[in-house]
């Protein structure tokens, strides 16, 4: 019987080593919640303070030097930066508590796979914004961010894949309804992040 216990713990050790070395599981659920809150605050500020209203059609050209437009872009960039910093900080803390490092081969793989679609999409969005095509911002950021999460999900929690698919769907839907871009953006980056973060926290990190 004792011998059998050994075999069972061998199998358990093998499974744990495989998972720990191929998946980055320190990604904090709270980071998702915080990113969602930043996005909601950002969307609110853009809408209420700056009075940002997405153009009626995709091909409406706005003046890229207009203040409301510039403020909205600045808010979006601030949301992105705060989200990244929060995710890095909270994940670092989780990893430290488990005696691990956030700089391991699976986190590097995850970042590599995540950043490629993200940078491509970010550059495309900037290029179109500079030409005043503001209505593309929400669909493209949702779509490319969804693709990058889908990609990254192989190296972390599987659930990230579903968040990716939902964001891709929202991105495509918002192409059809460009005047609701800000709403779609708030749902995707705000609400879905919060739901995902709470789910991961409850399921894995309590």
């Amino acid at each position: 019987m004792n011998k059998n216990q050994d075999y069972i713990s061998d199998i358990a050790a093998i499974r744990m080593m495989m998972e720990r070395s191929s998946k980055f599981l320190s990604l904090s659920g709270w980071a998702g919640v915080m990113a969602g809150l930043y996005a909601l605050v950002g969307a609110y500020l853009a809408h209420q303070l700056v009075g940002f209203v997405p153009p009626k059609t995709l091909l409406t050209v706005v003046d890229p030097t207009e203040t409301g437009f510039l403020f909205s872009v600045a808010i979006a960039i601030a949301v992105l930066l705060f989200s990244i910093l929060t995710a890095a900080y909270l994940s670092q803390r989780r990893a430290e508590r488990k005696g691990e490092s956030i700089r391991n081969s699976s986190s590097k793989q995850m970042l590599r796979y995540m950043s490629t679609p993200l940078v491509a999409g970010g550059l495309l969005t900037i290029i179109l914004l500079l030409q005043g095509l503001a209505a593309f911002a929400a669909p493209l950021t949702l779509l490319f961010y969804g693709l990058s999460l889908f990609n990254a999900s192989q190296f972390t929690f599987n659930e990230l894949r579903y968040l990716g698919i939902l964001l891709i769907t929202l991105g495509l839907a918002s192409v059809l309804l460009p005047h609701l871009g800000l709403l779609f953006w708030a749902i995707g980056f705000g609400l879905l992040h919060i739901v995902y973060g709470v789910y991961i926290h409850m399921k894995y990190q309590r």
Partner: protein, 99 residues
């Protein structure tokens, strides 16, 4: 040798760990292995050598940012032997459960 797919090269937690980690990663360097397995330099090196001798793993020297770096990877023979070992473990557990 114990027969039925068991291999005595795997009768050690560190070696089991090395095989597990290398079977789900294309290549890993010494420091990455050390971090995952929480082993000391000397201990890890001797187990790596033992697995190399069986030709279950191999290494290649490469340069990463101009620093020499040894990357380990699993061979086909290593994959097969490890899969057989896991199979044998599972069968043994199954058979004892049945009794």
């Amino acid at each position: 040798m114990l027969g039925n797919g068991f291999h005595k090269a795997f009768e050690n937690r560190t070696r089991l760990g090395i095989m597990s980690v290398l079977s789900v990663n294309e290549k890993l360097d010494f420091n990455a292995l050390k971090a995952y397995l929480k082993a000391t330099d000397g201990n890890l090196a001797s187990h790596l050598k033992a697995l190399e001798k069986e030709d279950f793993i191999r290494f290649e020297k490469q340069f990463v940012e101009r620093k020499p770096n040894t990357a380990y990877y699993i061979t086909q023979a290593g994959k097969d032997a490890f899969a057989a070992h896991i199979n044998a473990l599972e069968q043994l557990i199954q058979s004892q459960r049945g009794v």
